[in-house]
Symmetry: D2
Subunit: 343 residues, 4 copies
Amino acid sequence: MIKVGIVGGTGYTGVELLRLLARHPQVSLSVITSRGANGQRVDEMFPNLRGCVDLAFTEPDPEALAGCDVVFFATPNGIAMNGARELLEAGVRVVDLAADFRIRDIALWERWYGMTHASPDLVAEAVYGLPEINRAAIAGARLVANPGCHVTAVTLGLLPLVRSGWIDTTNIIADSKSGVSGAGRKAEVHTLMAEAGESFRAYAVAGHRHQPEIRQVLEGHSGRAVGLTFVPHLVPMVRGIEATMYARLNTAAGDLQALFEDFYAGEPFVDVMPKGSLPETRSVRGSNFCRLAIHRPQDGETAVVLSVIDNLVKGAAGQAVQNMNIMFGLPEDAGLDVIGLLP
Amino acid sequence: MIKVGIVGGTGYTGVELLRLLARHPQVSLSVITSRGANGQRVDEMFPNLRGCVDLAFTEPDPEALAGCDVVFFATPNGIAMNGARELLEAGVRVVDLAADFRIRDIALWERWYGMTHASPDLVAEAVYGLPEINRAAIAGARLVANPGCHVTAVTLGLLPLVRSGWIDTTNIIADSKSGVSGAGRKAEVHTLMAEAGESFRAYAVAGHRHQPEIRQVLEGHSGRAVGLTFVPHLVPMVRGIEATMYARLNTAAGDLQALFEDFYAGEPFVDVMPKGSLPETRSVRGSNFCRLAIHRPQDGETAVVLSVIDNLVKGAAGQAVQNMNIMFGLPEDAGLDVIGLLP
Amino acid sequence: MIKVGIVGGTGYTGVELLRLLARHPQVSLSVITSRGANGQRVDEMFPNLRGCVDLAFTEPDPEALAGCDVVFFATPNGIAMNGARELLEAGVRVVDLAADFRIRDIALWERWYGMTHASPDLVAEAVYGLPEINRAAIAGARLVANPGCHVTAVTLGLLPLVRSGWIDTTNIIADSKSGVSGAGRKAEVHTLMAEAGESFRAYAVAGHRHQPEIRQVLEGHSGRAVGLTFVPHLVPMVRGIEATMYARLNTAAGDLQALFEDFYAGEPFVDVMPKGSLPETRSVRGSNFCRLAIHRPQDGETAVVLSVIDNLVKGAAGQAVQNMNIMFGLPEDAGLDVIGLLP
Amino acid sequence: MIKVGIVGGTGYTGVELLRLLARHPQVSLSVITSRGANGQRVDEMFPNLRGCVDLAFTEPDPEALAGCDVVFFATPNGIAMNGARELLEAGVRVVDLAADFRIRDIALWERWYGMTHASPDLVAEAVYGLPEINRAAIAGARLVANPGCHVTAVTLGLLPLVRSGWIDTTNIIADSKSGVSGAGRKAEVHTLMAEAGESFRAYAVAGHRHQPEIRQVLEGHSGRAVGLTFVPHLVPMVRGIEATMYARLNTAAGDLQALFEDFYAGEPFVDVMPKGSLPETRSVRGSNFCRLAIHRPQDGETAVVLSVIDNLVKGAAGQAVQNMNIMFGLPEDAGLDVIGLLP
């Protein structure tokens, strides 16, 4: 059994890790830390875990964490970059669900995140945890940077096109829509139900931290310069991301459906739906799937990709477990064979 | 034109007062105060008011407020009991949308609200602003205590029965359900959309401040002792309260439909629906109506009353405007002829 | 492996059975029928099942069904009473998720359901599938009548009280609230999102089919006459039932918390929460749990029980699987160890 | 007083016309027809109108309608093209809220709508009812074609850019999102709350009828060829459209904020919000406003326009009333001074 620790388990990625790991056949939940909730039973805060998780939150204790095989940081940005080193040195593997190790360009990261990075050397070592493009590197990694939620939905939708050479990569549009759990479990006015319910709006149009991350993945994987306009929106629902992507096809463009099916052949968690499909977020609710559809409206010059994930699963905790499975040589879908909750 | 001031206008009762008063034919919006938002334009915080309200929030300034004909306190509990006196002495009439003047028994109030009351004499003077039972007193009042939202829905539904002598008043059940705007515009975790969305639960089962208020109204109006079990619930929607009330009929019970229709004959904002109706909250969304239906399932011994209001209108700002209209001798529905938004 | 057939799998109980059975370690999904969707792949209608269920709908074929070990009827009322006999005679065990075999009094059933019953003898044989009171009988049953969704939430909440002798059983109130999936996957105006969204209302106040079923369970289990007022409500959410029950305590009443904990000690799917808890429907979303809390507001004479289930799981498909597990001597929670999806 | 008739008033545009017209100071509601609901009181179907609209549905009767000054067709596509002529000949002015007279190219219309057009000559006569570009023509029109809901949101957002010459008009993206009331009050599975709630998806990616209509408006107004990719999405809310538009700026591009403010200066119902704004649909709920914001992320080459309307008001009934006001020389905002319902 793999002994697992979770640092900062009082947010939505924390409870979601617990939901998945509590049913993982080869995991033993060992430690879950929270300064604020120290001493409180986990299932008191998250009653869905009653009868399934028998743990209480504890103060972060390096010794206890060092006894784990792997530690997940489900913390705000800026925590893991300080806490990971000690664990790595103790031989613990680390998956960071925040953004500390995602962006390779330190200056760029510091500009978007407004902090000085505490561990640039670990950024250099960290492996970006998108299994569909980095599986081998993840298998050998000590430190994995789990991708952002919008990033996962958008890059999985765009990778085949960007690699293909069939689109103008300098002018890609990604119009992404997220449920409110993406904003986390923080007391804020703008995500109150009375503010976000029965309404729809864009946010962060001027610039969102996931934009440089998407570009890094796409450029890194294709070797092409990528120009991307990324606009996120807030949907009056709890879970789910749908990203609609638009790219201009060039004359080299061939069979888009085949391109996608070939690109993701054998992938356990990317489902290229049949031609003409309209993926809905509920089809992946609670599951680790990304469902994709590729359209070419009226056989014109624009490719339209539709991509859906559960932001808390494939967009966070599920992908983290997938990365853990790869790091420890387990079946990649261990603990992740959850079917989406529809309706 | 009546010059109106609003103290504490950054919450939902504040914006709702503005929505109604901005279209009131005999009102001139004069002052709106907020310590936190001092200097900010009102329509920057509430963009629905763009083009309709040309005011900015100001620091509470007794002199400016003293220039008004009427001041609404849309503040948290405990503010109006300190601020009302100075205004009253300056000849301003006051409507408090909070709870400071609702409960006549000071000790009872202090127990439920956990504060020492600053102005017991004003409690004695204040008129309880439920027009359906207090119209004449409101007309002559300097100080009106606007009723609670659950209280309005529940008491309007129970008053005819409690007065009739047809029920056992010692064992009444009020199962009330409220949209999340009832919790106000405060940054709190439990009313985040990711917490309150797609879920349903009871709250305050051990005791809710509206319970003694309901009892006071019912007992005061009927002269009978009232035993009431009141359980509020949180509905995953923004606006609306539905209260389902259960009372045990005695052998004196007659035609319930006629009882309700007679009781509310001529009332401009209480709509007794036809026999067999199932009022839905959306039928009163944005409007000042309370819609009621009275049932006697299978002609048995239990009366079931269904009552719906918009918690922010008849349950707060609309009723406050209705009280103002009465206080100033205006048509009672001035500024309140808004039709519910359905769908 | 148990070979399973499903008759009428295009509704929400059908897709929910598939979600649970596809992950059941001892089940082989064999047949799923639908006249209307004959030939269509199941995962085309329900894309959440893509990659998990490899079946197409077929015309109902008695021979194919006769080859199953157990057949679930996920059909409208009135189908199983005609189709079950042939299967039972072929040695197939049957679980009916509709109401055909729930009410033992045929005349009463015919009055509420507006049909002549085709198989009164099978009603006499059928075992009512509420494991918490009928486990032994279910284990030996050929034919199980799966309980109604409101019925499950309400009776699990009331059984300890009704058995205890501590309440007046002639005057019980059950105020139940259901998400819209309870209305099924039928094209109807009143459950359109534009009709049921952002609104709340009671329905079937004059009488609902679950009322006599609740009374039958409570009276059968306690030997006492039960007077029940049952009012269901429609909540603007997809899944979940919350029932709030009110009963008048007599002087014999003792420790209510202990009563409930003792009554359900050892039950795998009934969770009596700690004193003071407020169960929320999302804590059981997708899971087979019923979570209960028992309150006695202000130590008065009224007991208030709060009960939540997922209407499609413990209220339908999950309970059906639980019954199947009992019928076949499997661990009762096989395939049902799903943790509720929160948030 | 203007005598108004409504043909086909049982849908959402019908009830919304009634909500607005019942409070219009110069309108007398005269006739409302429905074959299916003949004889039923309007406020029985739409209880929000109780006390406000005292009409019953009647069979469509040409004579009764001919006595009106103006008739609104709130019917499915294909009705007004048959019924309008007789009314026009009787001197009645007509506003069609459906699509019969929107597309000037009859062959194009017939292809998208799958019908033979019954009155091509009336298409030639009809004035397209987007006041912001057609005010003078509407004032003199006998027959007005009220624009589609997505069309209104998208074209108001794009018109300034398309006219400016600052963008590549051959490659515009419009990613539009609509609440479910846009699908109408028809019994269909895919708009059930249990299908459309808590989920998000695109629809009609292959082609939507509003696409040619948007192109016609933009090309007609600018004289430029327009290439447009239009993808609508379904939002789990009742009311509101948000459209996010993307266009490639050329080197001529100047101050975008000024462009929009100048273009819409003096428009009563188009609100160009301050630079950096993020319009939310709830800010226009129930109101006739279109709120716009124009962004140029990171001062790059892509312009992003955000546009929100209430699909049933500015997207349908409100715009129809606005057109009526223009046709009859009334103040353009008569009956439309409704403030958006926020929250």
